[in-house]
Point group: C2
Chain length 388, copies 2
């Protein structure tokens, strides 16, 4: 490890079958007015809504609702929530859902009581939030983003056609508490489940594929990847396998609560491309990441060959004997590609609603960052064509 860091993560996690029993004790820490944020109807059909409302009623809360949060939460929804926070003097935002709902809730907390244009100030210019921030609590029903234990908020400004992530400070924006019951994810359909799984896997790879030092975080990232692969295979076979679903849920939280990122150079270019894919299509985030990853890594592995060799050996158990480093590295990327197919994830952009005309627009509009290599617009376009 050779990069200095400050780390803190104050989120209290309640995890397991009995996690929801902690909701009343958590609610008692906050004032009366609650903004309940959620997506479409799934929390009503699976009964979670009723359990949450019972706890809110039992603790004497006044509940205001913002529902219908989209899978790429929109800036318009952020503003609608911020208006409720200001008008109703909200004491706690309770997000019930997946990363989209939680990201939107952080956006609401930032936008409420902001002087000026929150989009410009917080997402585009990355300014510090100086006004008091309403606390957030979460009940997780879909796993992938780790938004339940970090300060990240990815919002899509539909008017401007920009999907932009912001990492807000942990001490104010990270959820104060998060309730994680793996059983709540049983009802997530296969397509959303594997999208979540690949989102997690991508978070781990984006952090792993950079840096040349011997760094504890890389070993831990490998551990989380291995745990995820084992659990993903079990969950695909039996979606109601509690052990598998709980492992996936915790792999997700660990993958992006920043504890595995300390002292790490990182990449995140796959996410940059996918964010713009998400701005032009309604492609599920993890599916987009999976499609882009294979051509991306095939383009950049030569710049970080040693790490791609390590990845092939440690994650996919590629037998290196008698092979060149280049062969071993490519075999590792091939294993990744086979894993994506094994999960039943589409492997072309065409299948997720992308048109050929969109490719240059996505290539041009995405931020250009990187780990071992920062790609040009032309290189990104080439990658997109290879998975079109």
């Amino acid at each position: 490890m050779n990069i200095d860091f400050t780390f803190e993560n104050p989120t209290r996690i309640h995890f397991g079958h009995t996690a929801m029993q902690h909701l009343p004790e958590e609610l008692k820490r906050y004032g009366k007015n609650i903004l309940l944020v959620y997506g479409r109807n799934s929390i009503k059909s699976n009964g979670i809504y009723n359990v949450v409302m019972a706890a809110l009623n039992a603790t004497g809360k006044a509940v205001f609702e913002l529902q219908g949060i989209k899978s790429n939460p929109s800036y318009a929804q952020v503003l609608a929530g911020a208006k409720i926070v200001e008008e109703k003097k909200i004491d706690l935002i309770l997000a019930v859902g997946g990363g989209s709902v939680i990201d939107c809730s952080k956006g609401i907390a930032a936008a409420a009581n902001c002087q000026g244009d929150p989009w410009q100030r917080y997402w585009m210019q990355g300014e510090a939030v100086e006004h008091p921030v309403v606390p957030i609590g979460t009940i997780l029903t879909m796993t992938g983003t780790a938004s339940e234990m970090n300060g990240g908020s990815v919002i899509t400004n539909e008017e401007k056609m920009i999907k932009q992530g912001r990492v807000f400070p942990t001490d104010t924006f990270s959820p104060k508490f998060s309730i994680l019951n793996p059983e709540f994810t049983y009802s997530v359909p296969h397509y959303q489940m594997v999208s979540g799984i690949f989102d997690i896997f991508s978070h781990l790879m984006e952090q792993y594929f950079s840096g040349d030092d011997d760094c504890v975080s890389d070993y831990l990232l490998e551990g989380d990847m291995l745990a995820l692969i084992s659990a993903a295979r079990a969950a695909v076979k039996n979606p109601n396998d509690y052990e598998a679903r709980s492992n996936i849920m915790w792999c997700a939280t660990m993958a992006l609560n920043k504890i595995l990122a300390v002292s790490k150079r990182q990449d995140w270019m796959v996410h940059q491309i996918e964010h713009q894919l998400g701005a032009y299509t309604d492609c599920a985030h993890g599916i987009g990441l999976a499609i882009i990853s294979v051509p991306y890594y095939k383009h950049i592995y030569r710049y970080g060959l040693h790490r791609f060799v390590r990845y092939a050996k440690n994650i996919w158990h590629v037998d290196a004997s008698g092979k060149s480093d280049e062969q071993v590295a490519l075999e590792g990327i091939e294993c990744l590609s086979r894993f994506i197919a094994e999960m039943g994830i589409p492997q072309t952009l065409r299948e997720v609603g992308t048109t050929e005309e969109m490719l240059p627009l996505i290539a041009k509009s995405c931020n250009k960052i990187g780990g071992y290599h920062v790609p040009t617009t032309d290189e990104v376009l080439q990658m997109l064509k290879e998975c079109f």
Copy 2:
């Protein structure tokens, strides 16, 4: 993962060459009266004392000192510190040292303002601490225990000849901040360094060797073990290798800040035996753990054979082809034994001041717990004889 858990860890970590620069901003969060707790003279000879005093003076603090904390901190020292906290109305306990100094500081925070006998109430009976607890900050100069990011406090009651650990609640007893500069550990002599390394390794193994489920934490524990082995070998070759020392420091914190323990059945019997060894001798904690581990694991591996096979393969890369599970497991323990020798750690109790008469006393007085197997007094005595 199949055991429900609640996890929180609010300690803010400042890590790296520049970590000490954060001390003034941290000190400003607290009142005027500081109790500075440290060991013998090493922080004076290596200059850390002067840097700390300069920051304390620059922020206008009144400093009261408690020095001479022993490597097995004594209950008498806890009481001496508690007296200062009460009399001087201390606002922050600043612990500068290793696990002993930090454990002692938590003991002081518990004992100060306690009604009744703190030893009986908090260490022997495990009662909740209900009085307000003085916050603790730490500057780490020796690595191993992770006391810088947990609520643990192991204290030796010299009068009663009992060394007893207590895990206090994280939200009140974990350090509010910890400053970790790997360079501060350069001056730790080889013997203390390898003692710390094995303390870390033992923490990881005590958490790893229990449970039969597929559990994310086991994969992460393996990652931390692999990182530690790599860093330990580099640090033994060159004690001033920053990368190696920083990896060891962070491996230590991760090994016992509880994030790798979530949902884990655990063992901790090696620590129980070593605690009583520490009560009868002045053996360095990690050295004692190393000596006891090999006979202990040779006695219990049959009860958790699958896990010892996994350990041999994943940690020591034992080639399992053509071997029975039993052979693979034993080969793994043999690798551990060779690693202990490679670190230059003594391998017999005789070498660390134990007499034959002490063996039955240690075997009888240690708590009997365990992971795959809970040993009897006779079994512990047999283990002690095998490494005498």
